[in-house]
């Protein structure tokens, strides 16, 4: 189920102005850690200002909506603007505000008082959806570079080697296209043609057998792989993006 690296802890941020909520959630997280046999680390914030200043790495943030001064929805907008890479689970006693919560891109919504089953389900979903992409080694002019997988637009076969396009720069690798898929995350990358692997995060549109990327590059999908590609793309779009 989890894609989490077992040596790395699952980092949960808690942002709430009330101490007793922190305590309750900490208890639940400890239980979660024991039940799911995974290390969970939590970082506590007691106000919106504290959270927005922080630069901690988080996997998920549990964010209260009703906080004094700046409320959770506004914080959510700020986080969305800052393009944070973690997911946000909203906590609130007021269920009427959950539509606002989703509008700011919240991933799940857990009503207060925090229900164990609902929190666990939400955390499970986060870890299911987490795509932790490793860096890959590529070359340009004989110099090796480490680039993050998500920067790749697509990979094209070039005889027995491959070309890696990132939009900013093009790289080369001696690895054949067939062995690239072993290294790349298959929920994000798809081999749509015998000479192309595409990053689904960079797909703008699909028309018949041509994929148009956000960079306006066009790559081909083979007829045989069209249906499987669309299936993978829908799954990526609704679950892993």
């Amino acid at each position: 189920m989890a894609v989490r690296n077992s040596t790395k802890a699952f980092v949960v941020g808690i942002c709430d102005d009330e101490m007793h909520i922190h305590d309750a959630i900490k208890d639940l997280l400890n239980e979660y850690s024991a039940v799911r046999k995974t290390a969970v680390k939590y970082i506590q914030y007691f106000s919106a200002a504290e959270l927005l200043k922080a630069t901690d790495h988080l996997d998920v943030l549990l964010l209260d909506i009703e906080m004094p001064e700046v409320d959770g929805i506004e914080v959510g907008y700020e986080l969305q603007k800052n393009k944070v890479d973690y997911r946000v689970i909203m906590l609130t006693a007021r269920e009427d505000r959950y539509r606002e919560a989703f509008r700011i891109g919240a991933f799940r919504f857990v009503p207060k008082p925090v229900d164990k089953a609902e929190l666990f389900a939400a955390l499970d979903d986060v870890s299911d959806h987490m795509v932790s992409l490793k860096e890959v080694t590529v070359y340009r002019d004989g110099v090796s570079y480490q680039i993050p997988q998500e920067d790749i637009l697509y990979i094209e076969a070039n005889k027995s080697a491959t070309l890696i396009f990132t939009g900013k720069a093009d790289f080369r690798s001696e690895k054949p296209i067939s062995s690239w898929m072993e290294e790349l995350d298959e929920r994000v990358f798809f081999q749509c043609h015998k000479s192309y692997i595409v990053n689904m995060g960079k797909v703008e549109d699909v028309d018949k057998n041509v994929i148009r990327l956000v960079s306006n590059d066009k790559i081909l999908v083979s007829r045989r792989l069209r249906a499987p590609f669309l299936r993978a793309f829908v799954t990526y779009d609704t679950k892993h993006r």
Binding site: R99, F102, P113, V234, Y236, D237, K239, R241
Partner: protein
């Protein structure tokens, strides 16, 4: 040279028939399957062989030979997505219809001294032209299925047209035999033909109105169903509102009670009282299913609330109200999924329904998973095979899902996985 002319005449006729099926009946083209490709290639092979051996199977004086008719219909069968019975019934109808019009033109051109193939080109060209002009003129005005009838009706239509054609042939024959060149007889011949043409046109118009009425009725019934669902949903919301109001009035009493427990230091009593009160709050807020979209909420609450005590229901996911899908289409899709699931559950003792919706940047996915009883027809991969019998069923049914899904370039998939029925719709948004 004669082979060339023959080939062209054949193609012309095939084109005329294809046009009719495509424009008037609006049959969908068959997908790119092995069956289609092999079938079409076989037909082409036979046709070319026939041409090489110079078979005169299109001689207009003796009428199309059965083999050629068979060949044309086989090609139409492989080009269009329909079953054999549909093909035969509608095929006979269109053949009678088109040959009647061709006869009419033929008689008009009877006196003209032109090569018989050229004459035939003119006739076929005119008929095909009329068909396509109709396509251009009427395309926006009418629905995609306005000339399609239930198959039983086609049996009647074919019979009427066949008898009419036979009648006209008989009269023409008798008239030509008894008084070949008298002016009155020629007038009679024209009258009979024009009369027949008018009756045919009238039949077509009748089909059109019959279908308009039918789709209007279906639409109306569907609208009523939606209204009913919404009324029910609003009633549920009102009920919840009333419960909340009641709670607000009672909260003072509750607080006083708690104050009393505090004063008396009866903390155990206080705790159990608090737990009760929280329980009430939660039961009020969990009163309705809510996935963020009013249309889907209406449908969920309408179909699932009445059965939520009897079975396990799990709703998850979120989609916005601002999703770029027509409200009616969204209603058709969600109602179909959820209604089917709830009906499947009704037959079982203790069922489970899971409904989830996920909205991405480019796609929306709705999915139901439910227990079911009974047998389903499955293909090799576990896909559920559907029958076409529910096509006209109150605007609901698989055909409806499919046509809406097609509009949004989406997919529909129903299969059985681990003994559970899974239906999934994905749409581009």
């Amino acid at each position: 040279m004669s082979r060339m002319i023959q080939a062209l005449a054949n193609i012309n006729m095939l084109w005329e028939y294809i046009s009719f099926f495509f424009v008037v009946f609006r049959v969908d083209l068959r997908g790119n399957t092995i069956k289609r490709n092999v079938g079409l290639s076989a037909c082409l092979l036979i046709w070319i062989t026939g041409l090489i051996f110079d078979l005169q199977w299109m001689d207009i004086n003796i009428g199309p030979l059965p083999v050629f008719v068979f060949l044309i219909f086989a090609m139409i069968y492989f080009i269009f997505d329909m079953n054999l019975i549909e093909l035969i019934l509608t095929g006979i109808g269109q053949w009678l219809f088109l040959s009647m019009f061709e006869d009419l033109f033929f008689i008009i051109l009877e006196k003209a001294v032109i090569d018989k193939f050229i004459k035939e080109y003119i006739i076929l060209g005119t008929v095909t032209g009329v068909i396509w002009i109709m396509f251009v003129l009427l395309d926006k005005k009418r629905g995609p299925k306005s000339f399609r009838l239930p198959l039983k009706m086609w049996v009647v239509m074919d019979l009427i047209m066949a008898i009419l054609t036979a009648m006209i042939s008989f009269f023409t024959y008798v008239m030509l035999r008894t008084a070949p060149e008298s002016k009155m007889m020629i007038t009679g011949k024209y009258l009979a033909l024009v009369g027949e043409a008018l009756i045919f046109v009238l039949l077509i118009v009748l089909i059109y109105y019959y279908n308009c009425m039918h789709s209007y009725r279906v639409e109306k019934e569907h609208q009523e169903e939606i209204n009913e669902q919404q009324r029910e949903y609003f009633n549920q919301l009102l009920e919840r509102e009333n419960e909340t109001k009641k709670f607000r009035h009672e909260i003072v009493n509750d607080l006083l009670e708690m104050q009393y427990f505090c004063k008396e230091k009866k903390y155990d009593d206080l705790k159990s009282y608090l737990d009760d009160t929280l329980g009430i709050v939660q039961s009020i807020s969990k009163n309705n299913y809510d996935v963020g979209n009013d249309i889907v909420n209406t449908v969920l609450n309408y179909y699932l609330k009445p059965i939520n005590e009897k079975c396990e229901i799990d709703i998850s996911g979120y989609m916005g109200d601002d999703v770029s899908i027509d409200q009616r289409d969204l209603c058709v899709l969600s109602a179909n999924l959820i209604k089917n699931a709830s009906e499947a559950i009704e037959k079982t003792e203790s069922g489970k329904i899971r409904f989830s919706v996920e909205q991405g940047k480019k796609f929306l996915v709705m999915k139901t998973i439910n227990t079911f009883d009974g047998e389903l027809k499955l293909d090799k991969t576990g896909k559920v095979l559907t029958t076409k019998s529910d096509t006209q069923n109150h605007g609901f049914g698989i055909e409806n899902i499919k046509s809406v899904v097609k509009k949004y370039k989406g997919t529909y998939d129903a299969r059985v996985v681990d003994g559970m029925y899974q239906a999934e719709i994905s749409l581009r948004i």
